[in-house]
Amino acid sequence: MSEVLVVVEATKEFGVKKVTLEMLTLARELGTPSAVVLGGAGAAEALSGKLGEYGAEKIYAAEGDEIDGYLVAPKATVLAELVKRVQPAAVLLASAQEGKEIAARLAVKLDNGILTDVVGLDADGTATQIAFAGSTIVKSKVTKGLPLVTVRPNSVTPAPAAATPAIEQLSVSVTDTDKLATVVERVAEQKGSRPELTEAGVVVSGGRGVGNADNFKLVEELADLLGGAVGASRAAVDSGFYPHQFQVGQTGKTVSPQLYIALGISGAIQHRAGMQTSKTIVAVNKDGEAPIFELADFGVVGDLFKIVPQAAEEIRKRK
């Protein structure tokens, strides 16, 4: 079976991201998964255990400052060389900022089609995409070149399949043109131990109804009790209640968790665009006519400042 290249998404803090495990799971349906680690020195070694657990038969690694010190262009160059050499059956990347950017450059370098926000991929290369704020299901195909797709987090359930991958270090031959955008500094902003928003199984979000930044503690408390991530509506972010990287919606993150709890969010199209493919939706809002209730599997009309603390207390009791 031919190889399927899976470009690994990982963080220093949490290691291999869940979307990578999803991609390895998908890749096994299409061929033999090979993981590609593009990062700082020693990155592949640290990740190899987890990648093997989910079926990576081989790991290609390109590491060091030449790769990591510049914005995505060197990664695309190394990946393009690898694709030309191994002629994989498909290339999978995460449908997040960097994954899409590497894929974009790869598509131009190889004059190859590209499909983003893919939630399913058949053996014949037909991809399923969700479009227009979750309202439309699209089936598409790359018609020139190999299937080059970016996979949306929370699309498939990661399934382990043990393998013991060997690491092959790739020679790095990046050009001067790849080194035009220099990363001067990487600044971590506090996030604590919560799961990453797009990958979380549970997301608890607050909106304008939360009232102020301080009150977001309520949202955080409920999220922590459920082991979830915290999100915010655009109205809440624009009002300065919560940082922008947690914004769920048309101009923020798209999430698709098992459980989405909307607190004080009216459910404008802007917000629905980012969360309406969630499996189960629960809403608390004081306005019984709020459009969020049209989506909610369970809705409570009332004061979130009474309902949420009571719910938190009840969860503690049951634990």
Partner: protein, 259 residues
């Protein structure tokens, strides 16, 4: 500084949007078409740079005839002129082909700085800035929440999952921006009147030296096979809190095995 802002006309994301049943492309005919929201932030950023450092701001749009409305709207915010890439053969173009056309137009315009929205609200594909940079062999500083211009040096704060990165490059470069970067101005009455007289140059594929079979359906590198509407969600139980709302909520979570 010679700044070009990429502007895309998209169907209003606040209304029902569809793909056409005949050729699976975005239905722009029956939709209320507007400037892609993120592009307004790109225009604002370009105008701020011009105000601080001098230069000229040009709008570049690829799209059908009716995209003219969005071009005039963009000009009413304050840019100097616009270029409209207009050619029937472009209908059905994929992202890869679109980047080829835009790169060809940018090559003719000789921009020092290209600014665009980080993504469009219709496709949300987010690939155009890097595709264009790859073709032009220039830097791409993408996902900016802050942009500083110091002579020919650009510095961007780029939001990431873990926090942010500070990334720097020299012009010429492509910068894409998120809606956190600024607050776009509203067009003034004077601006709207002035926009009517601003030059809009139309360029065809022939003008750009791009062959018709490299774009549109003929040149597409991907294809939509079929599409369907997702069944709309229907609301479930809705209760009114009478003192036990929090408990009832947790009872629901328990039946769904979340607690």
């Amino acid at each position: 500084m010679n700044i070009v802002v990429l502007v895309k006309q998209v169907p209003d994301s606040g209304a029902d949007r569809n793909l056409r049943n005949d050729d699976n492309t975005v239905d722009r005919g029956s939709a209320n078409n507007v400037i892609n929201e993120m592009d307004e932030y790109a225009i604002e950023e370009a105008l701020k740079i011009k105000e601080a450092h001098g230069g000229e701001v040009t709008i570049l749009t690829m799209g059908p005839d009716r995209a003219t409305e969005s071009i005039r709207k963009a000009l009413s915010m304050g840019p100097d002129k616009a270029v409209h890439v207009l050619d029937d053969a472009l209908h059905g173009s994929c992202a890869v082909a679109t980047s080829k056309v835009l790169a060809a137009a940018l090559g003719q315009l000789g921009a020092d700085l290209v600014i665009c929205g980080a993504e469009s609200t219709d496709g949300r594909v987010q690939v155009m800035p890097h595709m264009i940079a790859e073709r032009l062999g220039v830097a791409a500083l993408t996902g900016a929440r802050k942009l500083t211009v110091d002579g020919a040096t650009l510095t961007v704060e780029r939001q990431t999952e873990e926090g942010y990165e500070v990334v720097t490059a020299s012009t010429p470069a492509v910068v894409s921006v998120w809606d956190t970067i600024n607050e776009p101005r509203y067009p003034s009455f004077k601006g709207i009147m002035a926009a009517k007289k601003k030059p809009v140059q139309t360029l065809s594929l022939a003008d750009l030296g791009v062959a018709a079979d490299e774009v549109g359906f003929d040149g597409a590198t991907s294809a939509v096979v079929e599409h369907s509407k997702r069944p709309p969600r229907s609301g479930g139980a809705k209760i009114t809190d009478e003192g036990e709302g929090g408990v009832k909520l947790v009872e629901f979570l328990a039946t769904e095995k979340f607690v």
